[in-house]
Amino acid sequence: MPLIHIKDVVKTYDMGAELVHALSGVSVDIHANEYVSIMGPSGSGKSTLMNVLGCLDTPTSGLYEFAGENVGELDDNQLAEIRNRRIGFVFQTFNLLPRSTALHNVELPLIYAGVPAHDRRDRAAEALSSVGLGDRMTHKPNELSGGQRQRVAIARALVNRPSIILADEPTGNLDSKTGIEIMQLFSDLHRAGNTIILVTHEEDIAAHSHRIIRLFDGKVASDQMVETPLSYARQGVAEE
């Protein structure tokens, strides 16, 4: 059973004068521990698809099953629970709370999950350590570099042990060197068994993933496996 199963998903925006078809019949299956990139030029519908996959938005029509559960039948609170427990988001703009410490930022999903304070603290600290920020826990976002901020965001995405990590242009606001470091982190996470969906318009970034779904005009234009993903290549080098 695929982790994500979407069939004939349509998303239409009513812009008053005209109807905009952001997605016009998209069908995709994604299995556990896949590393998928969703690519496409702006206006291709990749952001809309990511929002639908992340349960941030609901499709106008079509089927979306997440781990066998029909997402279309869930109410607001149930969707919030899915986002909380099953999906870890990584945003282009990091979306950290500016006045909170790294630790508190990472604790947030656990707060909404009702995890007791001491447990929360331990798990958040562990997540921060796993992204290499064990010594930056009490720093606030403005005391961290861009790469460090994105690591905090990744720790936050990981902390509730989600089924998938959904990253929207995670390197878009980073310089290329830091970007490569972050992509390295994603590769590590993938190797550790996580399912990763990456939305990007950069071929270099998508080259890290194992499967690339290309969208054009709200439709799937191509869906191909990557022969030698960069993450494997590096792993190969390391093993030699």
């Binding site: 992340g54 919030a80 909404y112």
Partner: protein, 426 residues
Amino acid sequence: MAAVVTGHTHRQQQTQDIMIRFYEFKEGIRIAFTAIGANKMRSVLTTLGIVIGIVVVTLMATVIEGLGTALDKSISSLGTDVYYLSKWDWFGSEWWKVRNRKDVTVEQAEKLAEMLTVAEAVVPVASTWQQTMKYRNRSVQGNVNGTVPDYEVTSGVVPAEGRFFNLYESNAGRPVCILGHDVAANLFEREDPIGKTVKIGGYSYRVIGVFEKEGDFLGTSFFSKDTQAFIPLENFLKVFGSNRSVDIHVKMREDVPKADAKEEMIGIFRKIRRVPPGEENDFGVNTQDFLKEVFDGVVSTIGVVGFLITSLSLLVGGVGIMNIMFVSVKERTKEIGTRKALGAKRRAILFQFLVEAATICTLGGLIGLAVSFPLSLIINEILPSSMPLWVVLLSLSISITVGLISGIVPAFTAARMRPVDALRYE
């Protein structure tokens, strides 16, 4: 699904739900303080309306409380169950109705004393205002009253030092006097006044007693015995003239029903004053109940005015809070989106902003209390009173309520945002 897989029972699920709410609440308070801390000036300015409202509420309550205390003291100084028959009504009569009334005379008082069997004491009191009382080179101004020994019965006070004049001194019109506490204190300072001679209106009187301190009457010392002197009525009429209206203080026997006694007293006094049947009394029947009525009138006026000012400023304050909360929601749209993406339910977001609004208002309430406390100390100088604890609690609950009411619409706006729209907001 997680619940199914891990096999949580229903009870565990409920406990979990309660914990989630608790953590959401704690997070709400945390956010509120962070947000207020980040916008200190804005938050404080926003609370201005609340501050004014709370100051008015607390001061109003303090004044009412003070008036109540003053009234209680003053009433007790009047003596209970005492009627004051007088040419004038103390309160509430139109002057054109009463200006042609005949004086109440000492003879009428004597007749009343004879005929009114239900009375324990009937005491005429003649008064003259602002006489000069002198001892050596010191002098004070005060009211001088001529009365009879039974005044002790109707007033319920006995001299703290010395004694009141006796029947012999009274009937003979002896030049003796009992001084109010302040008069004695001012004239004699540390000397013992008893046996000394003071000059009142140019005549010499021997001091035979001093009343204990009574305190101000309704906030003024003018009507207080403290600033007055008492001399035998016979003497008073000779010295200050008999051509004046006297008051008659009537204390009823305690074994007679109040209403009956009053009825009888009025009936007899009408007969003495020859009031034709069917006509209104041509005299005033005053009791401390009148004071109570006047007091209640004052209190309800203060109450109404205070309520209007308070409501108005709380309304203004509430609108201010609502406005700032809308700004806060708008500013933090992206944060709302992030929180929703991380799994915050509508309830959590609603909570967050309600707590913020309530916290800002509570802050306003505390500022209001901080402002009104010193003001209440100033009021205390005029009206002995203190800010009661219930007022403090009331103020804080009003603040929180205003916060919740004015926060509810912005909070709902935030809670109902679609996560995708909120995230996209720049």
